[in-house]
């Protein structure tokens, strides 16, 4: 089963503030632990701040393209991770050990399972 870990945006991430070398090292170490622990990290990374993003709105047959920043947006994402695991609990157990608190002070992640072959059987 595949899972998406959405890392929510913070003031720092939206300001394009890069993590310090120490912060990056902490994430790297954590990544290594995940892999050693048998979790398959398929993909992951940071997103360029939403001020540089683009939204496309589809409404009443019209398509509108809007450049960031998105003033009305509530849920902004700063990063993601795609993980292959046998259960959501496994992913949660690992992700609670993530060093976000040490790196950025505050952080929030949301873990969602991907719809897969097993759902369409």
């Amino acid at each position: 089963m595949r899972f998406m870990v959405l890392v929510k945006a913070t003031k720092n991430s939206e300001a394009g503030k890069m993590p310090t070398p120490e912060g990056l090292a902490l994430m790297d170490d954590f990544n290594q632990e995940l892999i050693k622990g048998g979790l398959t990290v398929l993909d992951g990374g940071g997103l360029v701040p939403s001020s540089k993003g683009t939204r496309i709105k589809f409404s009443g047959g019209k398509t509108t393209v809007v450049d960031g920043p998105f003033t009305e947006a509530k849920e902004l994402v700063a990063g993601y991770c795609l993980i292959e695991a046998t259960s959501q609990d496994e992913v949660v157990d690992w992700m609670r050990r993530a060093p976000f608190g040490k790196i950025d002070g505050e952080a929030e992640v949301e873990i969602r399972r991907l719809f897969g072959a097993e759902d369409f059987a």
Binding site: N31, T64, V65, D67, L82
Partner: protein, 414 residues
């Protein structure tokens, strides 16, 4: 003006439509140059009109209708063009009809596949095929191609002009090749795509972003081909090989730009999503006949990709795959790689025996990896002095400064 109608936004829309458009127009007018010109005409009109009238719902259809209108305009004004069309057997009715008789997914796909075969026609030089493929199928501008290959823009422009002339002079038919020719013609497309990939992949550390982009372009072309010719094992094999090789991009060079050998790479830096796509492509290849050279190389790459640590590599499987590859595409380099695998699977003495047999092969005389591999095996069987001599020889042959330094170190030299 909303974001959707800016110049660059419209240019981008035209770029993603261009391959299909040129493919269809080439089928209609039977002249690559004219097809590109008509497409360009349509793009110019789009840039003029869409900021005013908005981007149309069906951009492909709008562009095609416009291109056809331009074709009729040109016909009216140019008697010689009318004659040319007649000679080429162009069906003039097609310009006045609404829509496209070949509309529907199959028609479009045939057009793009046809374009791929033409761009990679063996009558063209390799350089010409690369330029034409990147232009017509990759959607790259002449400037982008020039930047990627570190040559002046005028050189690429000339190359493309001459290529189109060569195709016209040789009366290359705008058809998918017949069954007897298909394998050879397909091999030509695969060769060109892999050439583009290697051009990007071989770029040394510190190179511009544009070179890495070439790998992405090659992968895109490879995926396109695999979709257009899904029953071709080697098309999937090539995609698999490129995905798995590309997965190592971030692990191949060290902090100082030194190349890191596969077995020494930090595997946590391998792109697992890329590997997953590569293995999926390999599985598709396996559904369509015996594995060819690209699929076999991909299978070897997959063996490495599946091992989380170098120690877990299934070397015996790799030896078997090299056996199969050596039978299909024998070469001294394949033999050398096979010897390395044998050394890992069956012990250094076995590997050494095979490498010894390659020492006098002319093609390997200036290849630094031959003495490097021999040195490694000699060291493993305890013949230290001979090992150092071989590493010194390898260092002398190595072209990369960092590699040379590493080899000198292994030779015990300062």
């Amino acid at each position: 003006m909303s974001a959707s109608e800016t110049h660059s936004a419209i240019e981008a829309i035209c770029r993603i439509e261009s391959t299909k458009l040129i493919g269809a127009l080439t089928r209609m007018v039977r002249d690559l140059d004219l097809a590109e010109e008509l497409a360009q005409d349509a793009f110019v009109e789009a840039l003029e009109q869409w900021p005013v009238s908005g981007v149309p719902r069906n951009t492909g259809a709008w562009l095609m209708t416009t291109a056809k209108r331009r074709a009729i305009d040109r016909l009216r004004r140019n008697a010689r063009l009318q004659q040319k069309y007649e000679t080429l057997g162009v069906d003039l009715a097609v310009f006045s009809s609404d829509g496209d008789p070949a509309d529907g997914a199959d028609g479009i796909e045939d057009d793009v596949l046809r374009l791929m075969f033409i761009a990679c026609h063996p009558v063209l030089s390799r350089e010409a095929r690369v330029a034409l493929t990147l232009r017509l199928l990759g959607g790259l501008t002449t400037a982008e191609i020039a930047q990627a290959f570190l040559v002046p823009e005028a050189t690429i422009a000339q190359r493309i002009v001459r290529a189109k002339r060569t195709l016209a002079a040789a009366h290359v038919p705008f058809e998918v090749p017949n069954p007897e020719e298909r394998n050879a013609r397909l091999a030509s497309i695969l060769e060109i795509i892999y050439l583009i990939f290697n051009e990007g992949y071989a770029a040394t550390a510190g190179s511009t972003w544009v070179r890495a982009d070439l790998c992405a372009d090659a992968l895109r072309l490879g995926r396109m081909l695999a979709e257009l010719a899904p029953s071709e094992c080697e098309a999937h094999g090539l995609v698999a090989l490129m995905e798995i090789q590309a997965s190592r991009f971030r692990a191949r060079t060290g902090a100082n730009g030194e190349p890191i050998l596969l077995l020494d790479q930090d595997r946590s830096r391998w792109d697992r999503a890329s590997i997953r796509r590569g293995i999926a492509a390999l599985e598709r290849a396996e559904l369509h006949g015996t594995l060819g050279p690209y699929a076999l190389q991909a299978s070897i790459a997959a063996c490495h990709a599946r091992a989380f640590r170098a120690e877990e590599t299934d070397w015996m499987r790799i030896v078997a795959l090299y056996d199969a590859l050596a039978e299909l595409q024998p070469s001294p380099i394949v033999e050398l790689n096979r010897a390395v695998a044998v050394g890992m699977a069956y012990g250094p003495a076995a590997g050494l025996e095979l490498v010894d047999a390659l020492r006098d092969v002319p093609a390997l005389q200036s290849y630094h990896l031959l003495p490097s591999v021999r040195g490694d095996l000699l060291r493993k069987v305890g013949r230290e002095q001979e090992a150092r001599t071989e590493f010194a020889r390898a260092a002398a042959l190595a072209k990369n400064t960092r590699e040379r330094e590493l080899l000198r170190k292994r030779a015990g030299l300062r």
